[in-house]
């Protein structure tokens, strides 16, 4: 059955491979190095384009993010899975989004880019991936201890349409590039923000990814989580497929440059590559999925996932305004402190919303 194809092992392998090859091609077509796709970086660029931070080198409205949400929306509508829902601890999810972005920008990439950096030969990504797994392990500890943000509820259809409509609005800003007296909308003239694949190609590829990922439930955090928590390798196979496909794509396109020093949009401060991703991995696990997954859930009407996405965009503004984001030369002035404070906040969320040290609370 067609419906069942999408949850077969073949389909997740195909989805992973599609994303990996798409990322290599998007890089070839102009996206920044080892950043064919990076959900965190691309949301950060959008935050910059809207003027939420002043880092002039990372300001661009990335059509990939828009395509992910709208591709998922299309799949959800076709397969009758668009189910507007909301109300599961939105404020906590907003803060988890902020912390996930802060952690990602200390490492310089989300879980997707961690894989793509490795596929491009960036050895520093190994420390990020190790951190990611460590963060997921801490999250699993809380889940096993009854961690629960509470149930969401069905809500008015319009609630589920809000983030997709925001994406349509962003797309219009990207196409028409209006210039206000304030300088907005901001588009970088140099740096990573000035490097991008042709808008329409990037958008169509992202629509396809959004569609496939909604159907297959692709998630880079659940990939590791499910292997450990429920001994299920389905999503893990997809992530391995992504890694291999991106690596092969990079080799073919001449984009594979193995090493640690001088890697693009990366630094060699391994303790903070690791630490940043511990924070991100924990925040994503506590929120139920990786940043890509949060976009796909938003597309199918999950307003709590949409709040997480908005938290990430807010977090990007904070990270650059308060110097917690890293640069190629190393962590920002407040980066290490932000990771430590962020971890403490995540631990408080984990302990206070699980059954540790108290009688069972059912939410």
């Amino acid at each position: 059955m067609f419906k069942n194809f999408f949850i077969s092992r073949k389909s997740i392998v195909f989805t992973g491979a599609f994303i990996g090859i798409a990322a290599a091609i998007l890089q070839k077509l102009g996206n920044p190095a080892n950043m064919g796709i990076c959900v965190a970086c691309m949301e950060r660029d959008i935050a910059g384009a809207l003027g939420f931070h002043r880092a002039t080198v990372v300001q661009y409205i990335r059509p990939e993010i828009i395509g992910f949400v709208l591709g998922s929306l299309i799949a959800a509508l076709i397969f009758k899975e668009f189910k507007p829902r909301a109300g599961s601890a939105p404020l906590i999810r907003f803060f988890l989004g902020i912390l996930a972005m802060i952690g990602s920008l200390v490492f310089l990439g989300c879980p997707w880019r961690a894989l793509l950096r490795l596929a491009g030969g960036d050895g520093n990504a190994l420390f990020g991936i190790a951190g990611l797994v460590a963060g997921i392990l801490i999250g699993i500890f809380f889940i096993r201890s009854g961690y629960n943000l509470g149930r969401n509820q069905r809500t008015y259809p319009f609630t589920g349409w809000i983030l997709p409509l925001v994406m349509v609005g962003l797309f219009l800003l990207l196409i028409f590039k209006p210039q206000l007296p304030t300088g907005a909308v901001f588009f970088s003239s140099e740096g990573p923000g000035s490097q991008y694949a042709p808008v329409l190609i990037a958008f169509i590829i992202a629509l396809a990814i959004g569609f496939l990922a909604q159907r297959t439930r692709f998630c880079t955090v659940a990939a590791a989580r499910d292997v450990i928590l429920i001994k299920d390798t389905y999503l893990f196979t997809g992530v391995v497929s992504l890694l291999i496909a991106a690596w092969l794509g990079n080799v073919v396109l001449g984009q594979f440059n193995p090493g640690f020093q001088g890697q693009p949009i990366a630094h060699t401060s391994q303790i903070w590559n690791f630490g940043g991703m511990v924070l991100a991995g924990l925040a994503f696990t506590l929120a139920g999925g990786c940043p890509g997954r949060q976009l796909f859930l938003s597309g199918e009407g999950d307003a709590d996932a949409a709040v997480f996405v908005l938290g990430m965009i807010f977090g990007a503004g904070f990270a650059h305004n308060f110097a917690t984001a890293s640069s190629g030369s190393g962590p920002g002035a407040w980066g290490p402190a932000a990771v430590i404070v962020g971890l403490i906040i995540c631990l408080i969320i984990g302990f206070s919303m699980s059954n540790i040290g108290k009688k069972e609370v059912s939410v």
Binding site: K83, N148, L149, R225, I230
Partner: protein, 70 residues
Amino acid sequence: MSEQFDVRGLSCPLPVVKVKNKLMELKEGVLEVLVDIGTAKDNVTRMANNNGWKVEVKEQGEDYLLIISR
């Protein structure tokens, strides 16, 4: 008579974790599970199948009723 277990509205991976724990207690028999979104339906079905349970999926309004048995 089987029991109906409601995991609607819970974030990933709670539906699958809660159903798995329930099945481990149950060992054999029938468990009816109510889920609301496709991801939870797929995850629970795959986990149950991997652990030697049969799953029948019925659409029930906007939700899915999973009848898990062995």
